[in-house]
Assembly symmetry: C2
């Protein structure tokens, strides 16, 4: 089965309280595309954050004394630092101007996901506060309007240890199990596979990034032709518990 | 531009000294497919290792005293441990039966990439000793035979910190730059992108895994429709230097 990755540009700049599901459906139509059962809609979190009003005017941020001290030490904007700390549950590493936190949503990433790219001047975006819920909401509206059984993955680009470059990963999921568990199954030689759990939601997120790019207005992609069975899933399944992690 | 991911099953079990490029071309033909310029051929390392004779009969392995001691402490097969240590440049973590090393090729991964799945009983496979070279060799033969300008990515599935599940990543590359560097470019609001380098080779590897799976004989996929410019690249660009890594 061939998998297709179809870019869905969105012309409009997304504003707080926009109906994102409606905007995506209109954009799909404009591309002369439509949705089919089992399509996976991959959406960059930036437009979700915008629609949910998760934007902050840096001019309105009053950095705490602590944020100012940390910012000074690590050569950061104190208002950015304030937001990074507010969005964090824990600082995992802070070194050489790089700050890695565990966000309140549970993700380990740079700057708690606070980001100023593809957003109007002087504003930054925060991650959706509950990306699984955001994904479910979009999925439910689209199911209602199209009567199609689809899955939704909300994404962000994260760096990672050991390897250079960022990759797009899933940060919110609806309608799909993010990990395939091959443990206990047999390979082609009849040997039991021992520890093979594949994070397909992250692979799908990365695949979608290939048509999204960073400079164009392509915040959505349809991934078509991937067979998935289990329709229950949460991004929480992708988050390793701190105590199980050899690198924290 | 829509991207397609086309599975290429290979019927035969690959044997040492098989002409892998020839086998892949025959398999593409059997699927009634053909190669086009700019196609990216993604190949799971397992068949590369097999063709290059990077298989070891565990019965032939004499574990050193050190390997036996480490194996006993961490509940591992001493012969496996011997191979893991031989393939490693450094042990990065060893805990709870999990051993993460930096391999001689420079990858940080579990068990130095030594693996017993999808291989005949009592044998294990090692990573190709120089996967960039393996990729270049396959690319050159295929270019000669088809006169098509393609890229080749050799892959393995690696675990990663912070997130559950493994993902397919690039371990050898020919004909493609693995990272797109957006730094200095401007986003849609005219703001300069500061730190966005995307590891597209890893995203392509992950995308290909979606049609490969683990249980079927689909060790190859064609990724078609992804525009790439720079045709020079090495997997070394994806490897973060130890001194630049906050998690080593």
């Amino acid at each position: 089965m061939v998998i297709s990755i179809i870019p869905i540009p969105i012309k409009e700049d997304v504003e707080p309280d926009d109906d994102l599901a409606e905007l995506i459906l209109a954009s799909i139509k404009r591309q002369k595309q439509k949705l089919f059962n089992y399509d996976i809609l991959v959406i960059t979190h930036k437009i979700v954050s915008k629609a949910e009003g998760r934007l902050v005017n840096l001019g309105d941020v009053k950095p705490s004394r602590y944020a100012r001290a940390v910012a000074r030490k690590h050569h950061k904007d104190p208002r950015m630092m304030e937001l990074i700390l507010r969005e964090a549950r824990e600082i995992v590493r802070i070194e050489r101007g790089i700050i890695i936190t565990e966000t309140k949503q549970g993700f380990v990433c740079a700057n708690s996901g606070v980001d100023h790219s593809n957003i109007k001047a002087n504003f930054v975006s925060l991650l959706p506060s509950n990306p699984d819920r955001s994904a479910r909401k979009i999925r439910n509206i689209i199911k209602k309007k199209t009567r199609k059984e689809i899955a939704v993955i909300i994404t962000d680009t994260f760096g990672r240890p050991f390897r250079e470059g960022q990759v797009n990963v899933a940060i919110g999921i609806a309608g799909l199990k993010p990990i395939i568990d091959y443990r206990g199954m047999e390979d082609v030689f009849g040997k039991e596979l021992k520890v093979t759990e594949i994070a397909i939601a992250d692979e799908i997120a990365g695949a979608a990034e290939l048509v999204m790019g960073k400079l164009d207005r392509v915040p959505v992609a349809i991934v078509r032709g991937y067979k998935y069975g289990n329709k229950q899933g949460s991004v929480k399944e992708l988050i390793r518990k701190c105590g199980n992690d050899l690198f924290r």
